[in-house]
């Protein structure tokens, strides 16, 4: 297994584990939380975990394609947050309710 000395010298594995942790917490937030807006925050965490891993690979293999892709992921994530919140606000204004369990009863 990995002996202790290599744990101190920060290598690719450390960054991957951090990105994975963020990804897992984001996924858990989406699954466990009832409030729709907090679920959108979970999606943001997810995408940030992916960004960290992309940047780690781009740094350790010194290719800049990783950075360019993170640049695009950032754009899509921000746009997605905007749309998600616009919908959440419209639903909240209509039904005065943000909990996800309420939306099973929507029909049509």
């Amino acid at each position: 297994m990995i002996e202790l000395s290599s744990l101190l010298e920060v290598s690719l594995g450390h960054y991957i584990f951090l990105g994975l942790f963020l990804f897992a917490v984001g996924l858990l937030t989406i699954m466990l939380r009832k409030n729709m807006i907090v679920m959108l925050m979970g999606v943001e965490l997810l995408l940030n975990g992916v960004n960290t891993i992309f940047l780690a690979f781009s740094h350790f293999s010194s290719h800049t394609e990783g950075q360019i892709l993170v640049f695009f992921i950032l754009t899509v994530a921000a746009a997605e947050a905007g749309v998600g919140l616009a919908l959440a606000v419209s639903i909240y204004k209509e039904f005065k309710e943000v909990n996800i369990s309420f939306f099973e009863s929507l029909k049509g």
Binding site: V10, L20, M31, N35, V38, S62, A79, V83
Partner: protein
């Protein structure tokens, strides 16, 4: 510079705690503020990793724009501090958490077994514009088309968001 542990471990610890804070905070506004903290620390980590322009963009766009929208919407709608933020149902919770655990275990196992441990060629000098210039020139040599598509995507979303708010009963309904 990227892999000196004095920089990596404290930042990683704060990011992990803030991410857990987003999950566990009962008041949505506190989970939004934890998200801000994790974004800012991630921005600093990107700076440490040598991706300077992206660290700045992370600070400006993510921590300074997206999460401001989250905090603003939560404040606009005075969402009360709901008592049990986590979904009910012990079995369903257990299933969700265990599935995520298996997922994490699989990936950690896969990563620790690989032999591919590249060492960075040279640490980017923080005060030079070199890495940003390489990123910028590369962005326009091979990815111009993707760049234009993103412009169209942002236009479509700008129009979509306004029209969503304009439907009957919407916040900006003209009636």
């Amino acid at each position: 510079m990227a892999n000196n542990p004095i920089v990596f471990f404290p930042l990683a610890f704060v990011i992990a705690v803030a991410a857990l804070g987003v999950l566990l905070a009962s008041n949505p506004i506190f989970s939004a503020l934890f998200l801000v903290l994790s974004m800012v620390c991630l921005g600093f980590m990107f700076l440490a990793m040598g991706a300077f322009f992206l660290g700045g963009v992370q600070l400006a766009v993510y921590a300074g724009a997206v999460t401001v929208l989250f905090v603003m919407v939560l404040m606009l709608f005075d969402l009360k501090d709901n008592a049990n933020p986590i979904a009910k149902g012990l079995l369903s919770r257990f299933l969700k958490v265990s599935s995520i655990g298996v997922f994490v275990g699989l990936i950690t196992g896969a990563v620790s077994l690989t032999k591919y441990y590249p060492v960075p060629v040279k640490a980017a000098d923080p005060s030079s514009m070199e890495s940003t210039r390489v990123l910028a020139v590369g962005l326009f040599r091979d990815y111009v088309f993707a760049f234009e598509i993103l412009g169209v995507l942002l236009l479509v979303i700008a129009i979509g968001v306004v029209s969503v708010s304009r439907i009957k009963g919407g916040t900006h309904d003209r009636a």
